[in-house]
Amino acid sequence: MNLGYLAYKNMVSKPLNLLLSLMLLSLSVSLVTFVFQLSQQLGDQLNKNIAPFDMVVGAKGSPLQLVLSSVLHVDVPTGNIKLKDMTALQNHPFVEKAIPVSYGDNYKGYRILGTETQYLNSYNAKLSEGRLYQKSFEVVVGSGVRSKLNLKLGDTFISSHGLADSGATGHEEHPYEVVGFLESTGTVVDQLLISNLKSIWDAHEHDGSKHNEGFEDKHQEDYEGHDHNEEHEHKDSENHQGHNHNDEYGNEEHENLEITSLLVKFKNPLGMVQLPRFINENTTMQAALPGLEIQRLMGLLSSGVQTINGIAVAILLVSALSIFISLLKTIRERKQELALLRTYGLGIGKLLGLALLEGLFLALLGFVLGWILGRIGVWGVSQYMQASYGYALRINSPELVELFLLSLILTLTIIATLLASRSIFKLNVAKTLSDA
């Protein structure tokens, strides 16, 4: 028989003490690891998603909303902007690339994004199967959507209005066809159905002529704000739309096409300084910097994270205290057993080792339980987020910070055990054995 077995038996012989210490310890561990994973993964995910772009240009409104809707695809857009207004920006010397995006429909809650294939390159999204879209109403499907909706190449579907799965029917005239699947990128692309810009325009053109509610009405209002010249053009384009909606868009038509926003990557860091201010001050559009907005968002979150961490540390200290008290109690209760073990030939060192084993076993078990609880929490939040935002969290293996937490707990336990074990050194074996 080894000391470990004895320590284990001693520990489980007091199940209530064990339960209390374990619960406190695992509660604090699960809190710390859960919050850590959540904030870290959210931050990582956000940063990964905004990384390809330095600036978003869209309709006026909240800059955070613009970033959330156009880059992260979790919020509703602020409105639409005209594609022709973007030409100058696209050709600006500071700009490396400027990708227009347009959206407003969904299929079973997953957004259909109209954009250029360059968008996929920005996220390094490669085809895993099929081909890229070549004409309107062909879509490539992100890996997350594919596994959730179980789509196959050649499948067709009808999109619905809006960005959430309302069950409402939409564009029956224009079913989309799945032509390709994307490899998993770990970014927002995984949660999207991506088509060309024209698909979005074509789909909504019909709505426009039918005077449907929703986005299109809002566009009209936006138009009023523009100068007369634009209004004329708009009317012209309506006439045009009457006859040639299946043809390629002519230059004239291009004048009035709308996009939701433009995603910009700068070539020159000066662009970051000059262009947003210029756009915000001199146009009816707004420019938002995803990096800045996300930093602001994380700043709001981090005070919450700190509060929870503070609570977790307090619980951790209480759990160390509870381990100390329960060890102190058992060592007192077991004084005679310790004296007996001395007569069996166990030196003071071995008895100390026994107490340490018991404490460390408890700490380790508490940590593992807490860690698992924390991961279950992450999994639960991940399920929720996936359902409502299309973002999934990973269940990571233990990370450095968590191992650091483990070593902190082990150190606390060793200190608590040594403090509780002082009486082992002073044990009077003969007297203790006679005092039965």
Partner: protein, 208 residues
Amino acid sequence: MVETSNLYYTYEDVTALTFPDIALTPGEHMLVMGPSGVGKTTLLYLMAGLLPPIRGNVVIDGTGLNMLSRKEIDKFRGEHIGLIFQQYHFIKSLNVSDNLHLRQTFPKSTNDKKRLHELAERLGLAEHLSKKVTELSQGQQQRLSIALGLIHKPKLVLADEPTSNLDDVNCIKVINLLKEEAEICKSSLLIITHDLRVMSHFHNRIEL
């Protein structure tokens, strides 16, 4: 060979205890008798190295306990001395079998299941091996205590009233077992007792 010489001990300068010299050859047994308070149990602790004598020495197989450090005495005691206490001491979180097994393990791994079962059989504990120690009757606890003193084949067995809670049948069993074990393992046997049943079986005795 176990020898004591000029052993002297005093509890906080109140009672001064002197002990006659004792010499036991391997396999030899001796009863220690005398009224309460003369230091019978103290003698036992001194011989087991649980109390350091103020004067005098205990030599077991050529090893003087006064030459050993506290740690070395712990180890020596674990290997060579078997103690049978008047009050029973067990590890309560372990069952009967594990308690016996534990005594075999430290410090020398004599992982001998056969001996464990044989001893349990001879002491009528075989069917109680998986019980908790607290579930045993007084008599069973005393027999377990005796088994714990013998299982590691010590050179010196020190027993303090080993038969006080036993009925006649079990008492005879224990006496025979102690004698047999002493014979087989060449153990010296020192028994403190008031029990007339024991006295009639052992003739070598000292009065304190």
